[in-house]
Symmetry: C2
Subunit: 114 residues, 2 copies
DNA sequence: CGGTTGATAAACCGATGAGTTGAATATACG
DNA sequence: CGTATATTCAACTCATCGGTTTATCAACCG
């Protein structure tokens, strides 16, 4: 029942196997078998990971004969970068004026949950 | 058994209540009761969330009489920003040369998991 | 001292997550 | 057609998660 997109993306990235899959896809498209090869788990497990990544919008899959080619979709990562940037002032002295702080928060707030 | 720090931080951020807590702490320190007030769940549940955030290194807690003051610790968020930045070239035309691409990947790779 | 307040611990519950094995589906190939 | 290959579906297991309730610990206050 966790439907909010930000949570879905964070959850998808909370698994090292899935992050490694993304790292692989950053170098170019690949099929399920190709993606599964480096890992010590079954192809089915990788298929499930791909479902998670797809539901998070982080990849798209296209049919091609009996293969499913996977491509990385960077949009959610950009959204994430913006989310993290809300907090940039807290460690980065580039944000040292109130104006910049307020700009950085514009419309990027989290609701009080649920 | 998920011990790698990146996974721990992503998992901690995958919950909207915890992100809202961080958003609140970005505005300044707070006690557990103060943090719990806006939420429709028990103080104990919030206490658990704070444990998760603390284990992820996203907050630190200090004793102060019978209160536990919580403070946001932005270091893991900076790490996260760097992680996401690996992929910036994929959506951001600022990265349009091979040199910049290679720079952006320097030493930030994910291992093939486990 | 006893009571109140702030916070955590412990035990439990239902749901979800990551993995397995085994079967099914779909497409190409001889 | 029949078989091999690529992928997914289904059912199951085990662990973890987010929440609850009840109980405990710690510090202040009258």
């Amino acid at each position: 029942m966790t439907v909010d997109p930000v949570s879905t993306v964070f959850a998808a990235l909370a698994d090292p196997t899935r992050r490694a899959i993304l790292a692989r896809l950053a170098a170019g498209e690949a099929t399920v078998n190709e993606l599964a090869a480096p890992f010590p788990v079954s192809v089915q497990a990788i298929s499930k990971h791909l479902n998670v990544l797809e539901r998070a919008g982080l990849i798209v899959r296209t049919r091609e004969a009996q293969w499913r080619r996977c491509r990385l979709e960077p949009a959610p990562l950009r959204t994430l970068a913006e989310w993290v940037d809300q907090y940039r002032r807290l460690w980065d002295d580039r944000y040292d004026t109130l104006d910049e702080y307020l700009d950085s928060l514009k419309g990027k707030d989290d609701e009080p949950a649920q």
